[in-house]
Symmetry: C2
Subunit: 387 residues, 2 copies
Amino acid sequence: MIDINILLVIALILFTTKILAIFTRRINMPQVVGALAAGIILGPAVLGVVEPNEAISVIAEFGVIVLLFSAGMETDFRQLRTSFKSSALIAVLGVSLALGGGFGIALLFGMPTFESFFIGVVIASTSTSITVEALNEMGKLKSKSGTSIMGAAIIDDILTIVILAVVLGMGAGNGGFSIASVGITLLKIALFFAFATLGGFAVKKLFDKMYAVMGQARRLSVFALAYCFLMAYLAELFGLADITGAYLAGIALCNTRCVEYLETKIHELSYILLTPVFLANIGIHASLDGMTGSVLLFTGLLVVMAVLSKVAGCGLGAKMCGYTNSESMQIGIGLIARGEVSIIIASKGISAGLLEPGRYSSVIIIVLVTVLITPLLLKRAYRQKPA
Amino acid sequence: MIDINILLVIALILFTTKILAIFTRRINMPQVVGALAAGIILGPAVLGVVEPNEAISVIAEFGVIVLLFSAGMETDFRQLRTSFKSSALIAVLGVSLALGGGFGIALLFGMPTFESFFIGVVIASTSTSITVEALNEMGKLKSKSGTSIMGAAIIDDILTIVILAVVLGMGAGNGGFSIASVGITLLKIALFFAFATLGGFAVKKLFDKMYAVMGQARRLSVFALAYCFLMAYLAELFGLADITGAYLAGIALCNTRCVEYLETKIHELSYILLTPVFLANIGIHASLDGMTGSVLLFTGLLVVMAVLSKVAGCGLGAKMCGYTNSESMQIGIGLIARGEVSIIIASKGISAGLLEPGRYSSVIIIVLVTVLITPLLLKRAYRQKPA
C-alpha cells in the first residue's frame, strides 16, 4: 500500500502551480517562477502542508530527466557541432570565475583553505533545467544562444564532475589514490561519451527503421522514453549526472525522421504531470534553518558571486567567440542557475567530511535564488534582443 | 538523492512491456497480457532483476488512478443512469456467489468459520482496471455491456467495503462497537457519494466555463488531473478505494464540452509511462513462496470459484435484467478480475489477526490468474458477439 497523502500532495502541486502560473503570466513574469513559488508556498518555508518526500522526489527527478530529454530532441545538431569550441570556452571561463570567486569569499570568512576551495566547486556548476523550461516558454531553445547554453552546460557538468573527483581524491588524503581516482573518473567519462555517441548513431538508425515500418505508432514514444531512462541511468553509473544522459539521448534522436512526433508525445507527459512536480519540488526543499546573520551575509555574497561569475565569465567567453553583446548576455544569464549538481556536490562534500553540514542551507538558498532570477533575467535579455 | 536503479527499472519495464505487447499482438492476444508477463519475467518469479519497490508502486498507483479517470471520462452518462438497477443486481449476485463459494471452500479445508468467511470476502471483490484496459484496446468501453461492467464494479467496491467493515467490526469482538462502526462506514460512503455528486456538478460547470474562456488550453488538462488526484485522495479518506474516486472524477467531466480534448491529453500520460508501469507492477509482485501441495489445491479451487462465481452470478444478474446471452457473458467475464481491493482486504485481515499471513500468496495468485485470463476471455466474448 502506498501512502495516500501523496495523492493529495500531487493534487495540491498541480492546482497551485497552474493557478500561480496564470497569475505570473498576468503580471508578465515567466510561468516557471509561478511553479517554483507554488513549491515554496506549499512547503515547510511557508504553509508547511507538503514536506520533502521520497515519492515526490522520484517524480520530480523523472520530470527533470524528461525535460532535458525533450531539450535534447529539440537540438539543432549542426549548430551544436559548430558551436562546440565556443561552448567549451564559455564553460571554462564561467566555471573558473565561479570557482575562484567562491574560494575567495569562503577564505574571507575564515574558512579553512580546503573547505573554501570546496565552496568554490559547489557554486561552479550550472543547471540548465530552469533555463530550458524558460527558453521553451519563450520559444528560444533552438536559437543560436540557446544551443550554446546547452552545449556549455554539458561541458560544465563534465568539468565540475572532474574537479569534484580531484577534490574528493585529494580530500581523502591518500596521495597515491587521488591521481588514480581522477584518472578513473576521466576514463569513465570518456567511455560514457564514446558509448553515447556510438549507441546514439545506432539508436537513430533503429528509430528511423521502426518509423518506416510502424509509422506514427505511439509505441515509438514508449521506446524513446525507455531509451531516455536507460541513458540517464548509465550516465549516473559512469559518474555523470542523469540529466546529461537524458540530454544526450535526446540529441541521438534529434535527427530522426520521427523526432517531431516523439517530441509532441513526450511533451504531454512533461507538461501535465512531471514538470509541475519537478519545479514545485525545488521550492518544497526551501528552508531557512540555521540562518544566522553571518551565515546570511556569507550566503548573500555567494549568491552575488554565483550570478556575476557566470554572467561575466560566460558572457566574456561568448563575446570572445564572436557573439553579439546581447547574445553574450543571454548566454551568461542562461548559465546562472544552479541546481541538482550543486546540491549533489554539497551532499558529497558533507558526507566526505570536507564541508560543514551547516553549509547545506546556504547551498539550497543559492540554488533557489539563482533559479528564481534566471527566468526573470532571461525574459528581459531576450526581449531586448532586436534593439 | 533518489535511488538511481529506479531509472533502469523504468527503462526495463517500458522496453519489455512494449516488446512483449508487440509479440502478444502478433499471436492475437491482448497487449495487456504482454505487459503483465513483462512484470512476471522481470520480477522475482522469473529473472529477479526487478524487486517490488515503493517508488514503482507509487507510479503504478498513479497509473491505475489515471486509467480509471480516463474510463470515467469515456462513460456514457445517460447509459450509466439507465443501467443503474441492472448494475446493482449484477453486483449483488456476483458478490454473494463469490462470498458463499469462498466461504464453502475454506470450510472444506478445515479453516475456522470466521476465517473462512473472511476468505469469502477476499474473493468477493472485483477490479475493473484490467477490464478497462482490455475494453479500451478493443474499443468496447462505451458499449452497453462495458457501461454495465463499470457500474457494477462501483457497486461491488461499495458492497465489499461495507462487508469488510462488518467483518472487521465483528472480528474486533466488541459487540457494541461493531454496529457503530458499520453505521459509520455506511455514513461515510453516503457522504462521499453526496459530495462527489454535488461537487461533480460544480466541477462540470467550472470546466465548461474555463473552456469557454481559455479554449483548448493545455492547462485545462492539468486542472483535470489535479481534480482526479483530489477525488482519489478523498475516496480513500472516506474509506473507499482511490480508483473509485478517480472514476467518479472522470464521470463528473464526461459531459463537459472539453472532455474529448482532456481525454486525448490524459491518455498520452497513461500510455507512455503510467499504464505500462501499473501492469508490470502486478507481475512483479508474483511469487510462489510458501506454496505446498495442499495450499496449491486450496488456491486452485479458490481461483475456479472466483471465476465461476462472477461469470455465473453476474451473468445471471445481467440475463435477469434483459441482456442478451452474449452480453451477459461479456459482463460476467468483465467482472472476473480481482485486484488491489482483494489484496487490501487480505492485508487488513492479516493485520487484524483474522487471516493467517500464509494466505497472502494465495490471494496474489488469485489476482494474477484472474487478471491474466480476463483479457483473454473478454477478447473471445466480444469476438463472438455479432454471431
